[in-house]
Symmetry: C2
Subunit: 244 residues, 2 copies
Amino acid sequence: MLRISPELAAEGASRSPGLVERRLLHEEVVGRLRDMIVQGELAPESKLNERVLAERLGISRTPLREAIKYLASAGLVELAPNRGAKVAPLKPEKVKEIFVVLGALEALAGDLVCRNANDADIAEIRALHYEMLAHHARGDLAAYFRCNQRIHLKLVERAGNATLAQVYGSLNAYVLRARYIANLSRGRWDKAVKEHEEILDALVRRDGARLKLLLRDHLANKLVLVMEALGHAPESAPAQPAAG
Amino acid sequence: MLRISPELAAEGASRSPGLVERRLLHEEVVGRLRDMIVQGELAPESKLNERVLAERLGISRTPLREAIKYLASAGLVELAPNRGAKVAPLKPEKVKEIFVVLGALEALAGDLVCRNANDADIAEIRALHYEMLAHHARGDLAAYFRCNQRIHLKLVERAGNATLAQVYGSLNAYVLRARYIANLSRGRWDKAVKEHEEILDALVRRDGARLKLLLRDHLANKLVLVMEALGHAPESAPAQPAAG
DNA sequence: TTTTTGTATTATGAATGCAAAATCAGTGGA
DNA sequence: TCCACTGATTTTGCATTCATAATACAAAAA
């Protein structure tokens, strides 16, 4: 049997030039599976048939199973004893929960980024912002989404707390899957862009307190969109902490 | 070879009476390893020899490896390619990071618990509080620690956001290991108890805003203790968001 | 027709086998 | 004495194999 599929081998190539690339097969698979799940290639609830998946990836079941356990810990996959694994369902209730936690984390990130980020960091975010505006102007929703996501991730990353970034990323992955369902109306889209203008402004002025509030509102609006996409009108506002 | 060690089999017994117990071996192992790590039986940095550990647990390497991958995702274990796994080191820098995130999460929990918890929940926490006072009065530090931990976990749990509780627990596990190093002075201990009195008071009065602040301060004090235990005087205050 | 039961097939869970990499012990040389 | 090298041993990573549970399906009974 083949040792590794060409695609997998190619993926992790070219990191730091002097060092030999040295990754574990199951880590490659984790990355690959995560992408497949987040991008919807593996739909929520879909069963992960070990034999089929292993064959498709050109590996044996062992590293695949290890990767599945890893993703199960991250919450992207659910395990049923003797019944295998499936992609975690996109439960509206859980989405709400995650948004509440993400709200607290983004608020924290907003606070921290205003203190810790240097001018280059902010310039980078600003550049992404304009790139995003370009996608908006062209009406390229997919590109807009990707860019938007990069901005939020960059913001959290530049808060200077790796743990925060990691937890954020992990929770975000679960929710991100809904994005490919969502379909923004023009009005909503314009509103989101306007919010981003304000976010950038607060960031540039390093107004942490304001950035915090803006990010929270932005996230709350995003939640509404996601819930609509999932076919659940948000009956009651999610339990958000008072903006104190 | 034995299928399962008696100890492991006993652990998950007695759920709902009609149903047969049905757990995965690697899940048992995850629980067991996590305990061993958190309780210091497996010290930070210590190598996880697969053959030895598997023998000790009475299982083969396969489910053990799966459990290790699971814990690696949770951050309790670190993997080095071709060099196996070791218990994640207790890095002071990372401890600080985690405390910052835990601060945001506990603040959120404090807010939520004041809205969502019912009287029974609060009565339960109050009971734990008095139990803790008893341990304090007797000078039983270990029992105090355990009870203290249960209070904080219960508080987060009763916030009514399972995702929050899960993330909190996961981050907490990393930091918890330092507890068995720490050695509280009497003065510090008394102070911590006093803080808990205030926390309970705010909870009973459902004063979310105040509870939030109390929890944050309490956590900040705890961080100081932990850092001292790790031999790192906290040079500068950790980047905490403004209490606004 | 519907339900149930027995059987064949398939998938999962765990153990074992095997090759490659890392570690260690010992030797030789500077 | 210290270091570099070499071969043996250990350990890891992955594949394969085996046992058991789940599923599908057909035949029999209600």
